[in-house]
């Protein structure tokens, strides 16, 4: 069962942003070599420029104690454990936030060290997931992957989707084939993703929550997209089509928001004024706009319901200054999301 808890998003988002900044410190320290990561570096620079809430850097949320951890060789707590990596979802290893961050930073450097299968970090996560699955079952392993994703341990939603396959018990081509032919499984997972998406659309109350919610469902959506791709079954093909569009719309949302960082009223221009940028906002036919915005919100994955409601409310009450609220989001959060979603090579 996919659990999207937007109410706890504030602390998670803070941790997420903090992670980006800590990561930036590691990468900027010059200790690690990271070739071919121009996309990543580009967003790292944006973090520096756009970081506005410095106090968040010092925030240590109690929730961090429940964060996932993968210990690596060289980590100073190594003497406490006898494994190369370690994870216990139920009875987690107790560490301080500082120790957790240190472990995270040590681990993160491994994203840039190549192994025969890709990079060391990915190999370690895969081993940790398989270990977790063997010890605690599929559900714990799936939660583990989702938790690693939300705490910034995995880069790239395609990578996260690949790692989910281990959590679902896929160890071979044969297992993958079996899962692909399980129509009920695909429908069930698709329904969960669709419900989660509808839940986010209906309940989020800010663009931060909207971006965060879309980020959270990314790996699961891509996992089922991959599983349903190229199926001969017409009904599975329909599932694949909608997941394809959700993925494309999500990237659209990220980049439309990013565009609005360059051009302040961009989102308002794009969705409210439409193609006619010179149009006076007072001349807009609100009832026609309502139909268009609801179309964007319900049929597509572009706008959450709160955004549509607020836009119409401001326009009806002729509070045109209020519209600027619709463009507000944490730019550092967006950069972190884009950076993590797109992965090390900018491809996801």
């Amino acid at each position: 069962m996919m659990h999207i808890d937007l109410s706890s998003k504030d602390s998670l988002i803070r941790q997420f942003i903090r992670r980006s900044l800590l990561g930036m410190k590691v990468f900027n320290s010059g200790l690690y070599d990271f070739p071919c990561h121009q996309t990543y570096l580009k967003y790292q620079n944006l973090h520096l420029v756009n970081y506005e809430e410095e106090s968040q850097l010092e925030t240590l949320d109690s929730g961090l104690r429940e964060a996932p951890i993968i210990f690596t060789e060289g980590f100073r707590l190594r003497e406490k454990i006898d494994q190369f990596f370690y994870y216990k979802p139920a009875n987690g290893y107790s560490v301080t936030p500082a120790e957790h961050d240190l472990s995270w930073k040590m681990f993160n450097s491994l994203h840039y060290q190549k192994s025969s299968h890709g990079n060391y970090a990915k190999d370690l996560i895969a081993r940790a997931i398989i270990d977790c699955r063997r010890q605690y079952g599929n559900d714990s392993a799936i939660e583990f992957v989702r938790s690693l994703w939300s705490h910034h341990w995995i880069f790239g939603r395609f990578t996260a989707a690949n790692l989910l396959t281990y959590a679902w018990g896929v160890d071979s081509e044969e297992d993958w084939g079996k899962l692909r032919s399980d129509k009920d499984f695909i429908f069930e997972q698709f329904d969960e993703i669709e419900s989660a998406l509808n839940y986010i659309k209906q309940t989020c109350i800010s663009l931060d929550q909207w971006l965060w919610g879309l980020y959270l469902i990314g790996p699961d959506a891509h996992f089922i997209y991959k599983l349903s791709r190229g199926s001969d079954d017409d009904e599975i093909e329909k599932v694949n089509r909608i997941l394809d569009e959700i993925g494309a719309d999500t990237v659209d949302v990220y980049f439309r928001c990013e565009r609005s960082m360059l051009n302040d009223p961009y989102l308002i221009d794009f969705y409210i004024k439409g193609m006619r940028k010179d149009r006076d906002i007072k001349d807009i036919d609100i009832e026609k706009l309502k139909i268009t915005l609801e179309f964007e919100s319900r049929y597509r994955t572009h706008l959450p319901q709160y955004w549509v409601d607020k836009a119409l409310k401001f326009l009806r009450s002729e509070n045109y200054d209020g519209l600027s609220e619709l463009n507000c989001f944490n730019t550092t959060l967006l950069d972190s999301i884009i950076c993590t979603s797109m992965g090390l090579y900018g491809l996801g």
């Binding site: 429908f187 009904e235 329909k238 599932v239 089509r241 909608i242 394809d244 569009e245 139909i291 268009t292 609801e294 179309f295 319900r298 049929y299 597509r300």
Partner: protein, 163 residues
């Protein structure tokens, strides 16, 4: 005196018009969830983005199909067009005009007052919508739920106007 009578007629016509518009809005909203699955016909494999106008026409086609079944009333135009539509001509939806579809359903409702729902015809209406929606790509798992919702909403609005 003349003005008062005119105004009553206007009010009556406006109320029929708003009823058509309410039914259209309801069906359109229900079909929004179908948007991402839409295809022109079962052979259509393109994954394009459905336009708002196509969805509006699809909801009007649905209304033109269902109201005659539910009420037992029709116009020649609706009868002919529905027959053509169900003959499943490729891309037929693109040849339909929103204005014509709106006009005919409005005509049906205003010319045949009072219109009443025939409860025995609900199943027939359900299968007609199911056939239409499946043709346009609705997933089998969802088609019954969407069709029931449409029949229920249309019946409700018409019954409300009866009372």
């Amino acid at each position: 005196m003349y003005l008062e009578i005119k105004s009553e007629v206007d009010m009556l016509e406006n109320s029929e018009e708003s009823k058509v518009s309410e039914i259209h809005q309801e069906v359109y909203t229900i079909l929004l969830s179908l948007g991402q699955f839409y295809r022109a016909n079962p052979q259509d494999t393109s994954r394009y983005s459905l336009s708002q106008i196509t969805l509006e026409i699809l909801s009007l086609v649905t209304i033109n199909l269902v109201i005659p079944i539910l009420t037992g009333l029709s116009t020649n135009w609706i009868y002919d067009k529905t027959k053509d539509y169900l003959a499943q001509n490729s891309n037929y939806i693109g040849k339909l005009s929103k204005k014509e579809l709106e006009r005919e359903i409005y005509k049906l409702i205003t010319d045949s007052k009072p219109i009443k729902i025939i409860p025995e015809r609900q199943l027939e209406a359900l299968s007609a919508i199911e056939e239409l929606l499946l043709y346009h790509g609705c997933p089998q798992r969802k088609v019954r739920m969407i069709s029931e919702e449409i029949v229920s909403r249309i019946s409700h609005i018409i019954k409300e106007s009866e009372s």
